[in-house]
Every structure is written in structure tokens, then in C-alpha cells.
Symmetry: C2
Subunit: 231 residues, 2 copies
């Protein structure tokens, strides 16, 4: 039995971007799990993991319990431990590419998405997180959340440029990983789903390849990612 710790949003909104990588990976592998949502500021609740961030999974079976934290390490663990189930990486080259893509997503795409949605997200976090959230994200942004909201139009332009190669890719193949979704798609989706849950703004136009790809992602696993509380 697998337990997942993820972030607790207002009204049950499961907004943790990195946890979506893990959740889609678990569905890809056909693995069930129990979710434990915790406020972002409640570090005591996840101290058992040895770290300060979600996602964390606990995998208890056959008398052995493993705790793994960090979405990348969890993906590596699931791929190795459940190697008889559908592959996340498709072998060594696919895993290497996934790491490369993960690094781009974390260092380029996620910081470009954040200023677009952060002020909206603030209104949808657990109320106990408000002071902590403001401190963390205003430090990152070097501005107040209110100033960030004023700069959204410019942030959206920048985000569009960052996403342009993904629009071009998904115009010509249905998924980041080719003809079928795999871990690369879950990396990109995690950031797009974060935006969908955090903000009522339209990030895409309806004719965008990224919009159509997101629809395909939301349809996966019986609408697993579609049927959650969103902005």
C-alpha cells in the first residue's frame, strides 16, 4: 500500500506541482495510493521523511517499508521497483532525456509560470499557510504578490515564449514522449495542472497544441486529473 503526502489547498485543491508528477506516475504504473494533504508550512507533519518538501511516498509491502521523497527520486524508485508495469522512461536513454527535461522544466518553465499564477494561487492555499506563502514567494519574486498581479500581462508574454517550442513539438507529435504519454508528459503536465488548479486565467488558446495536449492528459486514467477541485 502506497501513501502520498502532498500539499493541502483550500477546498481540497491538490495544487502541488511536483506531487502531480508522482500522482501521474503512480497512475501510469497502475498503482493505488492514499493521499495525505498537508499545509505547506507544516514541516512537522513531514519531518519523518528527513526533508521539508512534498511529494513523499511511503511504500509498505511484504513487511518492508520504504520512504522516498523528491519527485525525481520517486519516479526512479517506481520505475525500478515496478519494472514489470508500464515504463515511465523506456530505458536508459529515455531516463537520461527525462532528467534533462525535468531540469529544463524546473529551472525555466516553472519560474516562468509562477509569476503568472502566484497571486491567484495565494487565494486558494490553506488559510494557515498565508503568512508562510507570502514570505517564500515574495522572496522568490522580489516583489509583493500584489505587484506580481500587476505584472501578469508581461509574465504571460514571457511564458508564451518559453512554451513556444512545446507548442511546436505538440503540433507535430501528440505527446512530449512521442505517440504515448510517459514521464516527460507528466513533468510538463505538473506545471500546467498547477496553473489550472491555482488560477482561473486561461493560459492557452483553445486552438493551441498545448491546449489539445492538456485535454488528452486530462482524459487519461478515466479523467483522473480532470476531476479535481480547480480554480
Amino acid at each position: 500500500m502506497i501513501t502520498l503526502w502532498e500539499l493541502k489547498g483550500r477546498g481540497g485543491r491538490p495544487y502541488s506541482s511536483f506531487s502531480w508528477r508522482t500522482k501521474m506516475a503512480l497512475r501510469h504504473k497502475g498503482l493505488d495510493y492514499d493521499s495525505v494533504p498537508v499545509p505547506m508550512s507544516d514541516k512537522a507533519a513531514i519531518a519523518f521523511s528527513g526533508g521539508k518538501t512534498v511529494p513523499i511516498i511511503k511504500d509498505a509491502q511484504d513487511g518492508e517499508t520504504r520512504v522516498i521523497r523528491d519527485s525525481w527520486k520517486i519516479a526512479e524508485y517506481l520505475e525500478e521497483k515496478y519494472s514489470d508495469r508500464p515504463t515511465l522512461f523506456g530505458g536508459a536513454i529515455g531516463k537520461g532525456f527525462a532528467f534533462t527535461y525535468n531540469t529544463w522544466a524546473d529551472r525555466v518553465l516553472l519560474p516562468a509560470m509562477m509569476p503568472v499564477i502566484v497571486a491567484d494561487l495565494y487565494e486558494r492555499i490553506d488559510p494557515s499557510d498565508e503568512a508562510y506563502f507570502r514570505q517564500v514567494f515574495e522572496g522568490f519574486l522580489r516583489s509583493t504578490l500584489e505587484e506580481a498581479r500587476e505584472r501578469v500581462p508581461r509574465a504571460k508574454e514571457r511564458l508564451s515564449k518559453i512554451l513556444e517550442p512545446m507548442q511546436a513539438t505538440l503540433k507535430r507529435q501528440p505527446f512530449v514522449c512521442g505517440q504515448m504519454p510517459a514521464y516527460g508528459d507528466y513533468i510538463l503536465f505538473s506545471i500546467v495542472q498547477w496553473a489550472r488548479i491555482a488560477s482561473p486565467q486561461d493560459i492557452f488558446n483553445n486552438s493551441d497544441p498545448l491546449h489539445l495536449w492538456r485535454e488528452r492528459m486530462l482524459d487519461l486514467y478515466d479523467g483522473f486529473a480532470r476531476n479535481v477541485p480547480v480554480a
Copy 2:
């Protein structure tokens, strides 16, 4: 027997970026080839291919001759035709990721590298190409080559930012494709090698993960890519 059409530079400099993808892929597969360098402006020399750009390969064996153009299509062809040799993609997911990475490289990295090296490259092309080159690249740049040279410091700053996620990736794994080089590495290398042949400028610092990766790439296949005329 395989024949490759690529660009002809001054003093035999093999500067075509896209052709380096094909050449590294051929070496990866352990395939020999004969090179036919052609000036960029000599479209008649490659009209047989049905297109206007290199690389083009002709693969003649067992009474059958195939002509393939476009580096991506050539990689697909080599992977399928020579499937018993070392893999370029490592399967469907790796191929999907390679296409995604190829799209990023062509639409983001290559246009960021170009203004850094284009004025230097102009001095190293075949003399018969000078007017054509100026027309094509000044159109792309929307400036003269001389103006582009003045803007090199700013172009280098921009390039550094674009390359940052690759620096971070290659700090933590030796190749774009993981533990061993594969087609993703040849995509990135093609643009780095283009710069190395076109320009005497140092694009990297000696301690950069990208510099160390480039050294590993230049060592491959008995220094295949190292031992060519460079800037």
C-alpha cells in the same frame, strides 16, 4: 556505401550544424561515409534531393539506392535501417523525447547561438557564398553582420541564459541522454560544434559542465569531431 552532402567552408571547415547531427549519428552506428562538401548557395548541386538544404545522404546497397534529406529524417532512417547497431533513440519514448529536444534546439538554442558567431562565421565560409550568406543571415538578424558583431556581448549573455538548464543537467549526469551519448547529445553538439568551427570566441569557461561535456564529445570515435579544421 553512404554519401553525405554537407556545407563547404573555407579551408575545408565542415561548419554545417545539421550535418554534424548526421555525422555523429553515422559514427554512433559505426557506418562509414564519403563527404561531398557543397557551397551553401549552390542549390543545383543538391537539386537531386528534392530540397534546398543539407544534410542529405544517399545509401546505396544491395541494388537499392535511397536518398534522404533533413537531419531528423536521416536519424529516423538510420535507426530503422540499422536497427541491429547501437541505438540512437533507445526506443519509442527516447525517440519522442529526441524530437522534443530537437525542436527546442532548433527554435531556441540555434537562434540564440547564431548572433554570437555569425560575423565570425562569415569570414570562414566558401568565398562563393559571401553574397548569399549576407542576404540570408542579415534577413534573419534584421541587421548587418557588422551590427551583429557589435551586439555580441549582449547575445552571449542571452545565450548563457538559454544554456543554463543544460549546464545544470550536465553537472549531474555526463550526457544529455544519461550515462552514454545518444542522439540528444548529437543535437546539442551540432550547435556547439558549429560555434567551435565558426568562431574563435570561447563560448564556455573551462570549468563549465558544458565545456567538460564538449571535451567528452570531442573524444568520441577516436577524436572524430576534434580533428577537423576549426576557427
